[in-house]
C-alpha cells in the first residue's frame, strides 16, 4: 500500500545546454539528491511545475501549504536529509511560514522553493506579491531572492549547503516568475561551496577537552543532558560508549528522546516541565551537568536562578550562539557532539558510580509509575493506557509522530523509544497541526516503517484535510486521536492556574470515524480499555490508513508538572482530591 516512489530515469542535461530557469531548478534539485517534494501550485510557480514533469521527482500535492512545509520537515526528521517544499508567491508562500518557523526552532534542514511575481513587478504590490524573503528573514537560517536564471545554480547549491551544514535549518529560495521562464546556458558546478562569511564547522580545543575529562573524572554525581544534537550528529553509539565507560546517568530533552535508548539502565528519561520527578531531582542534585547538543530551553530548566545550583556545567554545542544564552556554563566546548565524544572517550577514567546511580534509583522507587499493564481496568480509558498499548503492540519500534499538547507529553513518558529518528515532534515551536502532515512526509523517507500519528482532537483538526493527501498518495499512516473533548493542555493550565475557568477549551469535534470515511479511509472508535488492542490490531492489519478515535478521560492531566518559572524540582504531583476522577496510573506510594 505504501506506493514506492516512481523511478523515472531521465538523463540530466549536460553543461552548455540552454535551459530555462524552471528546468535548471530541477536539474539542481535532482543533483542534490532530491526525490520527493511537497507542494501546491499557483500562478508564480507554474513554469517550475510545468518543467517538473520531465524530471525524476515525485510531487506530493498537499491540501494547504502549511502541510507542505510540515511534510518536508517530517521527511527531513525521519531521513536526516533535506526536505523540500514548493509553493507559489503571496498566500502560498505565507502559508509555509508556520512550518518554516517550526523547522527553524528544531534545526531541521529544509529548502523551501517559492514562486515570486516577475522581477519587473516587484515592489508594485502586484497580484499575489508578498515580500517572503522579508517575512521569513527571522525564521530562516538564510534566504535568497533569485531574479535571473544565471543565479539559480549557485544560489540553490548554497541553499542546500547552508540548510545542511553546521547547525541545520530552513532556507527559502524565492524565484521570480521571469527567472523561471528565461533561459541561460546551464553550467553545473560541483566544486565545494565556499562562502566567505560562513563557518559551520567548529572543533574543540585540546585544552578544553582535557579540562572536560578532568571535570568528569572528578565528579561524584554527574548527569548527562542529551539533546537533539545527539540524534542529528548520529552520536548514539558514542554516547553509549561514554555513558558505559564513565557510568553516567542520562536525562533526555524531548527532542533527544531515542538518541539514548530508553530501556538502557542508565537512561533516566525525559527532563523538564513534564519530566519524571527523579529525573529533575537528579539534575538538581548533580555536581556536574554534561550538556550534549541541547540548548537549556525554558521548558527543561524551570527557574534559571535555582537550576543545577550544585553543579558545574560543561556545554558541548555546535552553535557558539547557544553558549551562555540561558545558563552560564563553566566549560563551553563548541564542536560536533559526535566528534567531541570520540575525543573525550580515550582519556576518560573508567569507573563505577554505584552510590550515585543507586541514589537515583532510590528517588525513582519513591515516585515511579507502576507498571501500567498491571493496573486494574476500572472502565475508564486513559491516554496513558492508549499510548502504552501502542508501544507494546508495535514492539516499541514504530515511527511515532506527535502533535502538541497533553498527548505529546504522555507519548514522551509512555512510549519508550530505543532508536533515534523514531519520534518526530515539534519541540521548540510547539506547533499544533504538525503531526499528520509530518507523518505523511516521514512516510516518503521510511517506506517500510510502521508509522503512527498521535494527536489530540484539537491539533488534529488544524491540518485534518491532509487526510485526503494520504488517500491521493495511496500511503498508509495510522492515526490515533486522543480525544478528550478539550484543548487538554490549556484546560490543564486553566485547572491549575486560572481557577478552573475553562474558557474556550471545551471543543466540539466532527465524528472522526465518519470524517475518516469521508476521506476514503477507515475509521474506528474506542471508548474502553478492552477495545484498545483490537482496534490497534485491526489498524495494523488494514492495508490503508486508519483513523482511531480514542475517547479518553476528559479531565486527565499530565503529571508531574513544573509550573512555568518554578524550580525544576518543585513539581505539581497528583493531588488527593475527594470525588475527583481517580487515575490509577499515576498513583504511587508517595503521591
Amino acid at each position: 500500500m505504501n506506493a514506492p516512489l516512481p523511478t523515472r530515469t531521465t538523463a540530466l542535461s549536460s553543461n552548455g545546454t540552454e535551459l530555462t530557469g524552471a528546468e535548471i531548478l530541477w536539474e539542481v534539485l535532482v543533483r542534490e539528491g532530491v526525490e520527493v517534494v511537497f507542494g501546491y501550485p499557483g500562478g508564480a510557480i507554474m513554469p517550475a511545475y510545468d518543467a517538473m514533469a520531465r524530471y525524476p521527482i515525485h510531487h506530493v500535492l498537499t491540501r494547504h501549504e502549511q502541510g507542505a512545509s510540515h511534510m518536508a520537515d517530517g521527511y527531513a526528521r525521519a531521513s536526516g536529509k533535506v526536505g523540500v517544499a514548493v509553493a507559489t508567491s503571496g498566500p502560498g508562500a505565507t502559508n509555509l511560514v508556520t512550518g518554516i518557523a517550526t523547522a527553524m526552532l528544531d534545526s531541521i534542514p529544509l529548502v523551501c522553493i517559492t514562486g515570486q511575481v516577475p522581477s519587473f513587478l516587484i515592489g508594485s504590490d502586484a497580484f499575489q506579491e508578498t515580500d517572503i524573503t522579508g517575512v521569513t528573514l527571522p525564521i530562516t537560517k538564510h534566504n535568497y531572492l533569485v531574479t535571473r536564471p544565471e543565479e539559480l545554480v549557485p544560489m540553490l547549491r548554497e541553499a542546500f549547503y547552508v540548510a545542511t551544514s553546521g547547525r541545520p535549518g530552513p532556507v527559502v529560495v524565492d524565484i521570480t516568475k521571469d527567472a523561471q521562464q528565461k533561459s541561460c546556458v546551464f553550467e553545473w558546478d560541483d566544486t565545494p561551496i565556499e562562502l566567505p562569511g560562513y563557518r559551520p564547522e567548529h572543533h574543540a580545543l585540546p585544552a578544553d577537552l582535557a579540562k572536560a575529562v578532568e571535570m568528569i573524572d572528578a565528579a561524584e554525581r554527574p548527569v548527562v543532558l542529551a539533546g537533539h544534537g545527539i540524534v542529528k550528529a548520529q552520536a548514539t553509539e558514542e554516547l553509549l560508549a561514554f555513558v558505559e565507560k564513565a557510568d553516567v546517568p542520562v536525562a533526555s530533552t524531548l527532542l533527544g528522546l531515542g538518541g539514548m535508548p530508553a530501556t538502557h539502565p542508565r537512561s533516566l528519561g525525559m527532563m523538564g516541565m513534564h519530566g519524571e520527578s527523579w529525573v529533575n531531582e537528579a539534575i538538581q542534585q548533580a555536581d556536574l551537568l554534561i550538556a550534549l547538543g541541547m540548548r537549556f530551553d525554558d521548558r527543561v530548566t524551570g527557574n534559571l536562578k535555582t537550576y543545577g545550583q550544585n553543579a558545574k556545567k560543561i556545554h558541548v554545542e555546535l552553535d557558539p550562539a547557544e553558549i551562555n544564552k540561558n545558563v552560564k556554563v563553566d566549560l563551553p566546548i563548541v564542536g560536533d557532539v559526535k566528534e567531541v565524544l570520540q575525543q573525550l572517550l580515550p582519556s576518560l577514567e573508567a569507573k563505577q558510580r554505584t552510590p550515585w546511580v543507586e541514589h537515583i534509583d532510590g528517588l525513582k522507587g519513591e515516585s515511579a509509575v507502576r507498571d501500567i499493564q498491571a493496573m486494574p481496568d476500572e472502565g475508564r480509558l486513559y491516554a496513558a493506557h492508549v499510548i502504552h498499548d501502542l508501544w507494546r503492540l508495535t514492539s516499541g519500534d514504530a515511527l511515532i509522530v506527535t502533535d502538541v499538547g497533553q498527548h505529546q507529553m504522555w507519548e514522551a513518558q509512555y512510549y519508550k523509544h530505543d532508536h533515534p529518528r523514531k519520534l518526530l515532534t515539534s519541540g521548540g515551536l510547539g506547533t499544533m497541526g504538525f503531526a499528520l502532515p509530518a507523518a505523511i512526509g516521514a512516510r516518503f523517507a521510511k517506506p517500510d516503517d510502521e508509522i503512527w500519528v498521535i494527536a489530540g482532537d484539537g491539533g488534529f483538526q488544524m491540518t485534518a484535510p491532509e487526510l485526503t493527501t494520504l488517500l491521493q498518495e495511496g500511503v498508509k499512516v495510522n492515526v490515533a486521536i486522543i480525544n478528550n473533548g478539550y484543548l487538554g493542555m490549556v484546560r490543564q493550565w486553566q485547572e491549575f492556574f486560572y481557577g478552573g475557568r475553562y474558557v474556550a477549551t471545551p471543543m466540539v469535534s466532527p465524528d472522526f470515524v465518519k470524517l475518516a470515511e469521508a476521506h476514503g479511509l477507515k475509521g474506528l472508535r474506542v471508548t474502553e480499555r478492552a477495545g484498545v488492542e483490537p482496534a490497534y490490531r485491526e489498524a495494523q492489519a488494514h492495508p490503508g490508513a486508519v483513523v482511531i478515535d480514542f475517547r479518553v478521560e476528559q479531565e486527565d492531566a499530565v503529571y508531574p508538572m513544573v509550573a512555568s518559572g518554578r524550580d525544576l524540582n518543585d513539581m505539581i504531583r497528583r493531588p488527593e482530591r475527594k470525588g475527583a476522577p481517580h487515575n490509577p496510573i499515576f498513583e504511587t506510594g508517595e503521591d
Binding site: 524573503t133 522579508g134 528573514l137 527571522p138 537560517k141 538564510h142 531572492l145 547552508v162 562562502l195 566567505p196 562569511g197 560562513y198 563557518r199 552553535d319 557558539p320 550562539a321 553558549i323 551562555n324 544564552k325 552560564k328
Partner: protein, 170 residues
C-alpha cells in the same frame, strides 16, 4: 551594562543591513547607533554598531552576528584603543547680528560653517559624541533649526594591532 563598539564587515549585498538590524531587533538588543558604508575592498561594507551590553552579552552578539551568512568578520573593539568620530550638521538660526558670534563659537571648538544663508548657517562638527552634544547645547540659545548625525564610526588606533588588510582572506 556598558557601551560597546562592534566593527562588523559584511558582504555588500542587498538586504544585509536588514539582516543585521533584524537580528538585534528580534533578540531585543537595543542599538545606540549604526553606521554602514563601503570600504577599500570591493564587495565589502563596514558597519560600526554601538550598543549597551555586558561582556557575556557581547560574546553572544558576536556569535549571533557570525551566524549571519553574509557577515565576514566581527570585532568587538570596546577594550581596544581606538579613534572614533561622529559627524554632525547643525542648522542654526543666525542673522547678520548673531552670525559673528556663532562663527566665533564654531572656531573655538574646531567646528566650521559649511553653508551661509541670510537668516541661518549650517555648522559641521566632527568628534566624539560629547563634543557634539556640548556644541549643540551652546548653539541652542540661537535656535537650532535642524540637526543630523552620522552615528559613530570607529577604528582601532594605528599602533593597536595589525588589522588584516583583506577581510575576505580572513
Amino acid at each position: 551594562m556598558e557601551k560597546r563598539t562592534f566593527v562588523v564587515h559584511v558582504e555588500d549585498k542587498p538586504g544585509v543591513l536588514n539582516r543585521v538590524a533584524s537580528l538585534f531587533r528580534r533578540r531585543a538588543w537595543n542599538i545606540d547607533s549604526l553606521n554602514v558604508g563601503t570600504t577599500h575592498e570591493p564587495g565589502v561594507s563596514r558597519m560600526t554598531i554601538v550598543c549597551h551590553a555586558d561582556s557575556c552579552m557581547a560574546t553572544r552578539i558576536e556569535a549571533n552576528l557570525y551566524k549571519q551568512v553574509n557577515v565576514l568578520r566581527v570585532d568587538d573593539i570596546t577594550e581596544h584603543a581606538r579613534v572614533q568620530r561622529n559627524l554632525a550638521l547643525i542648522k542654526v538660526a543666525a542673522g547678520p547680528k548673531e552670525r559673528p558670534h556663532v562663527l566665533q563659537i564654531l572656531e573655538a571648538v574646531g567646528a566650521r560653517a559649511v553653508d551661509l544663508g541670510p537668516d541661518s548657517l549650517v555648522a559641521e562638527i566632527t568628534g566624539p559624541q560629547d563634543e557634539i552634544e556640548r556644541l549643540a547645547s551652546v548653539l541652542e540659545p540661537f535656535g537650532i533649526l535642524e540637526m543630523v548625525q552620522t552615528g559613530l564610526v570607529a577604528m582601532t588606533r594605528a599602533a593597536e594591532r595589525p588589522q588584516l588588510r583583506k577581510v575576505r582572506a580572513a
